[in-house]
């Protein structure tokens, strides 16, 4: 099936979105004390690092960044064989901290549900919030993002691809639409 990728955010757009999210987080929490950013593998991690870097540029604080792989918490293991797993590494104990989960794309919400289960096995945060670069709609669970880089209405046939400089050769967001 032929697909045509259409770029909807370029590298600079992504950078600006990350910067804006960083400011929103900082504003809501009156600074960035007692915050932990946790990136969900794979691309949530470099985005979380990007947010932490942005925050450190205008606040005098170093926000700890963790990594979380939710492979062991998915509810659809029967149907999707395991893809490459990333490590789970928390720089601090999350108990009593405010955790901001970070992911690249928010879609059905199942990944976030799995991440919430994982976080609750790892500790008892004071609160959990969610930051995503792209919200493409079609939630199957009552999950919503607190911070959104871009709202992107899509259909199920479309595919959203995110690339970040830290991992890929380029940076941006593409939608692939199947050719009719």
């Amino acid at each position: 099936m032929q697909t045509i990728p259409v770029q909807v955010m370029d590298g600079a757009d992504v950078r600006r979105a990350i910067s804006r999210i960083a400011h929103e987080i900082s504003e809501r929490h009156h600074g960035a004390e007692s915050l932990v950013l946790i990136g969900i593998h794979t691309r949530g991690v470099p985005i979380a690092e990007g947010i932490a870097r942005a925050i450190s540029e205008f606040e005098d604080v170093h926000v700890p960044v963790g990594e979380l792989d939710v492979g062991f918490y998915r509810d659809d293991l029967d149907h999707r064989p395991t893809t490459r797993l990333g490590r789970t590494l928390l720089p601090v104990d999350v108990t009593n901290e405010i955790v901001v989960l970070v992911d690249d794309v928010l879609y059905t919400g199942r990944t976030i549900r799995a991440a919430l289960d994982a976080i609750s096995d790892l500790g008892r945060p004071a609160a959990v919030e969610l930051a995503v670069l792209v919200d493409r709609g079609h939630r199957q669970l009552p999950i919503r993002a607190d911070y959104v880089g871009k709202n992107l209405p899509t259909s199920h046939q479309e595919r959203v691809t995110v690339r970040v400089e830290a991992m890929d050769q380029e940076q941006g967001v593409w939608i692939e639409r199947p050719q009719s």
Binding site: F72, L77, D78, H79, T82, R87, D121, L122
Partner: protein, 305 residues
């Protein structure tokens, strides 16, 4: 990969994939709540037709850490001793609804036959003198943690290799990962046609002590293998036992491994077994992670056509 019946069925990439998965599970096992819901709702059946407490417990712990339920089948109290065939027994267990079976049996090839009769994945927990693949995985995992990689690692396997499924699986596993394996045993305990194996051999333990990175000791088996294959136990201990003197001749970074259970004072000196360079307890804890990796790998994607 539908079953895990033999290390010979795995290539290097397949082994490394399982070891990588096991690393993730090691992290899970170190948490306050050492459990993930990955196999919640799945049932793991252990069918051990040969006594073994430690391996069965290891599989059971691994299953529970994945939130699976466990059914233990113990032949001595069961209908198998009333003459029910192996096939009927496994079909009965299958009918109760199991998602994976772990089979240990004294006859070579029994897990393979079970795999041909049932629909679910089968893990070989040890069949006769043939294979014990999860043991080889945990041994490889232990060495990878200790040395970073196995390429070029000089490993000597010592003992009754001819009758050892641990040895056969480890020969496959270690060589696949690039290690250099030497088998050390009296001639009656080396495998037949050993020249067809990708290993070196020696009948003199003392001559190789200074040139190995890993000394892997097999237990002297009194229950498997028939007839007088060893001239005498004291002679075996004198020639092949790792006593304190021999331990002192090892390279300072060399390590000692043993699949357990140990015969202290026979293949391994009692104080040697407790030395920090003996990795036996690490092997045991790595065993749970390795078995979690195998179960997880076999059961993910199981609903797919």
């Amino acid at each position: 990969m539908k079953h895990l019946l033999s290390m010979a069925d795995l290539d290097r990439a397949g082994i490394e994939e399982l070891l990588d998965l096991a690393d993730h599970f090691t992290e899970v096992l170190e948490r306050d709540i050492p459990k993930v819901p990955a196999l919640r709702g799945a049932t793991v059946a252990t069918l051990f037709f040969e006594t073994s407490t430690r391996t069965r417990l290891s599989f059971e712990k691994a299953a529970k850490a994945l939130s699976a339920d466990v059914l233990n089948f113990n032949p001595s109290g069961s209908s198998l001793s009333k003459g029910e065939s192996l096939k009927d027994t496994v079909l009965t267990v299958q009918a109760m609804g199991v998602d994976v079976m772990v089979v240990r049996h004294p006859a070579v090839g029994a897990p393979a036959r079970v795999a041909s009769w049932v629909n679910c994945p089968v893990i070989n927990g040890g069949d006769g003198a043939h294979q014990h693949p999860t043991q080889a995985l945990l041994d490889a995992l232990t060495l990878r943690r200790r040395f970073g990689k196995l390429d070029g690692l000089r490993i000597a396997i010592v003992g009754d290799i001819r009758n050892s499924r641990v040895a056969r699986s480890n020969i496959d596993g270690f060589t696949a990962l690039g290690a250099l394996v030497t088998l050390v045993a009296p001639p009656t305990l080396l495998p037949l046609e050993v020249n067809s194996y990708p290993v070196a051999t020696s009948t003199d333990l003392d001559s190789i002590l200074g040139e190995v990175d890993v000394l892997y000791l097999l237990r002297v088996q009194l229950e498997r293998g028939s007839g007088p294959v060893l001239p005498s136990l004291p002679e075996y201990v004198a020639r092949f036992g790792l006593d304190r003197r021999r331990f002192g001749l090892l390279d300072k970074d060399a390590v000692v491994m043993h699949p357990g259970p140990m015969n202290r004072g026979i293949e391994i000196g009692t104080d040697v077994a407790d030395d920090p360079r003996a990795l036996i307890t690490e092997q045991v804890s790595n065993g749970v992670a390795a078995r979690m990796a195998v179960m997880f790998r076999l059961l993910s994607g199981r609903g797919q056509p």
